[in-house]
C-alpha cells in the first residue's frame, strides 16, 4: 500500500504547487496587505455591502436557473439523438461563451437591451448556455441505452423514465454545470458594468471600483473575502451534494445516439432551432454590423495602427495552446487525486481548485504583482498569460473529468489490481481511456477560455503581444466607421475560430471511438 501512497503524493504535488504558488499565495499576500491597513468604522459600509452582496447572490441564482431552462431543450436533443448538423449545433452554442463581453455588450445595446436587470440576466444566459450543454451532454450521451429501454419495456412513460432513471444519473453533471454557471455569474464583471451601469453592482464590480478607482485596498480586500466566502459556501455545498449523489455505473465508452424517428424528428428540430435561434439574435446583429465597409478586407490590409488586426489571431492561438496543454495536464492530475481519495482532504483540494473561477480578477491580478517576483520574477513575462488562463481553465478540466472518473466502479479497479496491475497501470488501462474523452471537453473549454481571454490577465502587466480581444478593444475605442466595422469583423473571426476549434474537438472524440 505504501507505493500507492507515494504515487498519489507525486501526482498530487504538481497541481498542489500550481494552485498554491499561482493562486493561494498571491491571494493571501494581497488580502493580508489589504487587511493590515484596515481601519475600523468605515461609515455606510454595512449597508452598501448588504445591498451589493444581496444583488450579487440573487442575480447569480436567477441567471443559473434561467440558463438551465434555456439550455435544456438543446442539451436533450444533442445528448439523445444523432442528426445532421449536430456538431455544428454544439459549436454554435459554444460561440457566445468565448466572445469578449464588450462585443456582446455592443450587440445587446444595439438591440436596445440595456440599463436593466433583464439585459444582465439575458446576457448571462447567452454566455453560459454552452457550459450546461457541453458539461451535461458529455455524460448524458453515454448513459447505457439499455437502462432506458428496460424501463420503457416495464411500462414507464418517457417522462417517468427521465425522472427516475436519467435525471438521477445526470445529477453529478448537472451539479457541475450549475456550480460553474453560478460562479461565473456570481463574479460577473463586464456584463454588469456595460449593461447595468452603476446601478447594479456585483461584488466583483465593487471590488474593482474600490481597488482600482479609489485605491481603497482595505475595503477591496474585505469585499474580496466576502466574495470568497460566498463562493466557498456554494462550492462546499456542491461538493457535498456531488459525493452524496454520485452513482457508480458502467458508462458506455462511446456515445449512444439514435436517429430521431417520426414525430420526434420535429421535436428535436424545434429544440435545436429554438435554442440556437435565441442565441443567434445578438450574433446576427454582430455579423450584420461587420458587413459592408470592406471590414474583412481591412482586417488583412489595414496597418495604419500597429500591424494588421489579423496578426493578433496568431498570438491568441499560441497563448491558447499553451494554456490548454497546461490546464489539461494539471486538470487530469488533479482529477486523479480527487477521485483517488475520498474524505475531506480530497474535498478541500477540489474546492481550492475551483476557487480561481470565483475570485475577483483584480484581486488575483494585484496579488501577482506583489507575490510573483520571487524566486524568479515572473511578473510581466510571457508565461503569466497562459498561467493565468490555466488557473481559470483547470476547473473545467476537473469538472468534466471527475464525474466520469467517479462513475468508474471501484470493483473494476480492484479487479485489475487483484490481477496484478500496478496502480499506474490500473489508472492507464481503466481510468485514462475513459477520462481522456471527458478531458477533451475540458481542454476545449480551456482553449476557448484562453481565446476569449477573460479573467486576471486584464489587470496584470503582461507582454505587449496583441491578442484578439485586446485588438477588438483597441478598435472599439477608436472613432471612425471602419474601426467599428473591423472590431465587429474581428469578433466574427473569433467566433468562427471558436466554432472550428470546438468542431475539431468533437470530431476527435468521434474519431477516437473507432479505436475501441
Amino acid at each position: 500500500m505504501r507505493r500507492i501512497r507515494w504515487g498519489w503524493l507525486a501526482v498530487a504535488a504538481v497541481p498542489t504547487f500550481f494552485i498554491g504558488y499561482f493562486f493561494v499565495y498571491p491571494l493571501a499576500r494581497i488580502l493580508v496587505l489589504g487587511l493590515s491597513e484596515l481601519s475600523i468604522g468605515a461609515s455606510g459600509l454595512e449597508a452598501r455591502l448588504l445591498r451589493v452582496g444581496w444583488f450579487t447572490l440573487w442575480q447569480a441564482v436567477v441567471s443559473t436557473i434561467l440558463t438551465f431552462v434555456v439550455a435544456a431543450p438543446l442539451t436533450w436533443a444533442v445528448s439523445s439523438y444523432r442528426f445532421k448538423g449536430r456538431r455544428l449545433a454544439m459549436a454554435m452554442a459554444t460561440v457566445p461563451f468565448v466572445l469578449p463581453t464588450v462585443v456582446v455588450g455592443t450587440a445587446f445595446v444595439a438591440l436596445g437591451w440595456r440599463d436593466s436587470i433583464g439585459a444582465i440576466l439575458a446576457a448571462h444566459v447567452f454566455f453560459n448556455v454552452a457550459v450546461v450543454v457541453r458539461t451535461v451532454s458529455t455524460l448524458w450521451s453515454r448513459i447505457d441505452p439499455r437502462l432506458h429501454e428496460a424501463a420503457r419495456v416495464l411500462g414507464g412513460s418517457e417522462w417517468e423514465v427521465f425522472k427516475s432513471i436519467t435525471l438521477p444519473l445526470l445529477r453529478p453533471a448537472l451539479a457541475a454545470a450549475a456550480s460553474i454557471v453560478f460562479l461565473f455569474t456570481f463574479t460577473s464583471f463586464g456584463v454588469v458594468l456595460i449593461l447595468g451601469g452603476f446601478r447594479y453592482a456585483t461584488l466583483e464590480v465593487e471590488i474593482y471600483r474600490q481597488a482600482v478607482t479609489l485605491f481603497d485596498l482595505p475595503l477591496a480586500a474585505t469585499l474580496a473575502i466576502v466574495q470568497l466566502l460566498g463562493v466557498s459556501a456554494a462550492l462546499y455545498a456542491y461538493s457535498r451534494y456531488q459525493e452524496r449523489t454520485a452513482v457508480a455505473w458502467t458508462l458506455e465508452r462511446g456515445t449512444n445516439l439514435k436517429r430521431p424517428r417520426g414525430r420526434t424528428r420535429f421535436v428535436v428540430a424545434a429544440a435545436v432551432v429554438g435554442t440556437l435561434g435565441a442565441l443567434a439574435v445578438p450574433l446576427t446583429v454582430l455579423v450584420g454590423r461587420s458587413l459592408g465597409q470592406n471590414a474583412y478586407r481591412s482586417l488583412l490590409t489595414d496597418d495604419r495602427v500597429v500591424g494588421t488586426p489579423i496578426s493578433s489571431v496568431w498570438n491568441s492561438l499560441a497563448f491558447a495552446l499553451g494554456a490548454t496543454v497546461l490546464a489539461t495536464l494539471i486538470g487530469i492530475m488533479a482529477a486523479a487525486v480527487i477521485t483517488g481519495r475520498s474524505g475531506s482532504l480530497s474535498r478541500w483540494f477540489d474546492l481550492t481548485l475551483m476557487l480561481p473561477l470565483g475570485t475577483s480578477a483584480v484581486t488575483i491580478g494585484f496579488g501577482f504583482i506583489i507575490a510573483l517576483d520571487w524566486p524568479v520574477d515572473l511578473r510581466a513575462t510571457t508565461w503569466l498569460v497562459p498561467i493565468a488562463h490555466a488557473l481559470v481553465a483547470v476547473p473545467f478540466v476537473v469538472r468534466s473529468t471527475v464525474p466520469t472518473l467517479r462513475s468508474v466502479p471501484a470493483a473494476t479497479r480492484e479487479a485489475a489490481a487483484v490481477l496484478g496491475a500496478s496502480p499506474f497501470r490500473v489508472w492507464r488501462e481503466i481510468d485514462l481511456p475513459i477520462v481522456s474523452r471527458a478531458a477533451l471537453v475540458g481542454a476545449g473549454f480551456a482553449f476557448v477560455i484562453s481565446l476569449g481571454e477573460f479573467g486576471a490577465t486584464s489587470f496584470v502587466a503582461r507582454p505587449g503581444l496583441a491578442t484578439i480581444p485586446t485588438m477588438i478593444f483597441r478598435l472599439l475605442t477608436r472613432p471612425g466607421a471602419t474601426s467599428f466595422g473591423m472590431a465587429m469583423a474581428l469578433s466574427v473571426v473569433l467566433a468562427l475560430i471558436t466554432a472550428a476549434v470546438v468542431m475539431a474537438m468533437d470530431r476527435a472524440r468521434i474519431g477516437e471511438l473507432g479505436a475501441f
Binding site: 496587505l33 475605442t477 472613432p479 474601426s483
Partner: protein, 340 residues
C-alpha cells in the same frame, strides 16, 4: 525560455553599476501599449543602443495601482499614462524619481509639474461632439454653451457617459464642476435630468450606440476633440469634411504624464527615454497613433488635425489634489441627483 527570461531579469537586478542597460522597460496603459510597434522607439534605440520593452498594464487606474503595489521591486523603469485623475495618488505613493526633461521648455507651462516628478507627454480634450448632418437636416443651431443644452430640444438629444464607469464621463463631470462651481453644478445636472438627458455606461455605447451618426438618437455625445479627425482618417470612403464637429464649451483637458519609477537601476537612461518621448520626432507621431495632442508645442500637427478639429483655447481643468480628495463624493452626489 522562462529560465532565460528569469535569468535576464535577475541579472538586470544585480548589475546595478551598469550605466546603460540593454533594455529599458516602459509600463503603460493598454491603449498606449497597443499603439506601439517596431518603429515607435527605433530612433531612441539607434541613438542609445537601448531597446524599449513596453508592458501593458490594464487601464490607467490599474496601471498606477500596480506601480504603487510594486514600489519595492518595480516592474519597469519608466511609467507612462498617469493622468490628472490618478496623478495625485501616484504622487502620494511616492513612486516617481524627479527628472527635469531637457525638452520641458517646449511644453505649455500650465501642464508642467512644478517639482518635475512627472513629465507631460500629451493631452486630450474631452468635448461634446455633434452630428453635422443631423443639425443641418433639423435646421437647428449648434449650441455653444452648456446652458444652451438645458432646453428640452437639445437635452433630449444629449448623451453623456456615466462618471463612475467611464473616463470621459468622469472628465465631463469634472468640467461641469469647473464651469458651474461646487455650488451650482448639481443644479445643472438636475435640470438636464428633468429635460431628458441620456446616460450611457461607457464611451463605446455612447458613440457607437447612441450617436445619430451610428444610428442612435443622440446628436450630441461626449467624446474627444480628436474624434472628428479620426472620423475622417478611418472613414469608409475618403471625406472632404469631418461628419462631426466639436463644441468648445465644457471641454475638459486630460494630461498624460510619464515618470521614472523609483528603484530603477538606470535612472539616467530612463531620463533619456522620457526626453525622447518629449522630442519633436516622437511627439509628431502621437496624434495619428493615439489620437491625443502632443505636449511639445514645436511638434507639427497632421493635416487632418488642423482641418477637422479645434484645440479649445480655455479648456476646463481641476487640480489633481482636489480631484483625489473629492472624486468619490462628487460621483456619489452625481448619482443621487441623476438616479435618485
Amino acid at each position: 525560455m522562462v529560465i532565460v527570461l528569469a535569468l535576464t531579469t535577475v541579472a538586470c537586478g544585480e548589475s546595478e553599476q551598469a550605466e546603460t542597460p540593454e533594455t529599458l522597460r516602459l509600463i503603460a496603459h493598454d491603449s498606449f501599449a497597443s499603439g506601439v510597434d517596431e518603429g515607435t522607439f527605433a530612433p531612441f534605440t539607434e541613438e542609445t543602443g537601448i531597446t524599449v520593452e513596453v508592458i501593458p498594464a490594464g487601464d490607467a487606474g490599474a496601471l498606477v495601482n500596480q506601480a504603487a503595489l510594486s514600489r519595492d521591486n518595480p516592474l519597469a523603469d519608466v511609467l507612462f499614462g498617469v493622468d490628472d485623475t490618478f496623478l495625485s495618488r501616484a504622487l502620494e505613493e511616492d513612486i516617481f524619481r524627479p527628472h527635469e526633461s531637457t525638452n520641458i521648455g517646449t511644453v505649455d507651462p500650465t501642464l508642467v509639474d512644478a517639482e518635475s516628478r512627472v513629465t507631460p507627454i500629451d493631452f486630450g480634450d474631452v468635448c461634446f461632439n455633434y452630428d453635422k448632418a443631423w443639425f443641418e437636416n433639423n435646421g437647428l443651431v449648434v449650441p455653444d454653451d452648456l446652458d444652451d443644452l438645458l432646453v428640452d430640444t437639445y437635452a433630449q438629444v444629449v448623451t453623456v457617459e456615466h462618471p463612475a464607469t467611464s473616463s470621459p464621463g468622469l472628465a465631463f463631470m469634472l468640467a461641469t464642476i469647473d464651469v458651474f462651481g461646487e455650488d451650482g453644478w448639481l443644479d445643472w445636472w438636475a435640470e438636464m435630468r428633468d429635460a431628458g438627458v441620456n446616460v450611457a455606461n461607457d464611451w463605446d455605447t455612447a458613440y457607437y450606440g447612441d450617436f445619430t451618426r451610428y444610428g442612435g438618437s443622440s446628436s450630441l455625445v461626449v467624446s474627444y476633440a480628436s474624434s472628428p479627425p479620426a472620423e475622417v482618417i478611418f472613414a469608409e470612403e475618403p471625406l472632404e469634411e469631418a461628419p462631426t464637429g466639436v463644441i468648445e464649451a465644457g471641454c475638459y483637458r486630460q494630461v498624460e504624464y510619464a515618470g521614472i519609477l523609483e528603484g530603477t537601476p538606470y535612472p539616467e537612461s530612463a531620463g533619456e527615454l522620457i526626453d525622447f518621448m518629449l522630442s519633436v520626432e516622437f511627439q509628431e507621431g502621437i496624434p495619428l497613433t493615439w489620437f491625443v495632442f502632443p505636449a511639445n508645442q514645436g511638434a507639427a500637427l497632421p493635416q487632418e488635425f488642423i482641418e477637422h478639429t479645434t484645440i479649445p483655447e480655455s479648456p476646463t481643468r481641476l487640480d489633481p489634489e482636489l480631484i483625489a480628495e473629492n472624486r468619490d463624493r462628487w460621483i456619489d452626489e452625481w448619482i443621487s441627483v441623476m438616479e435618485g
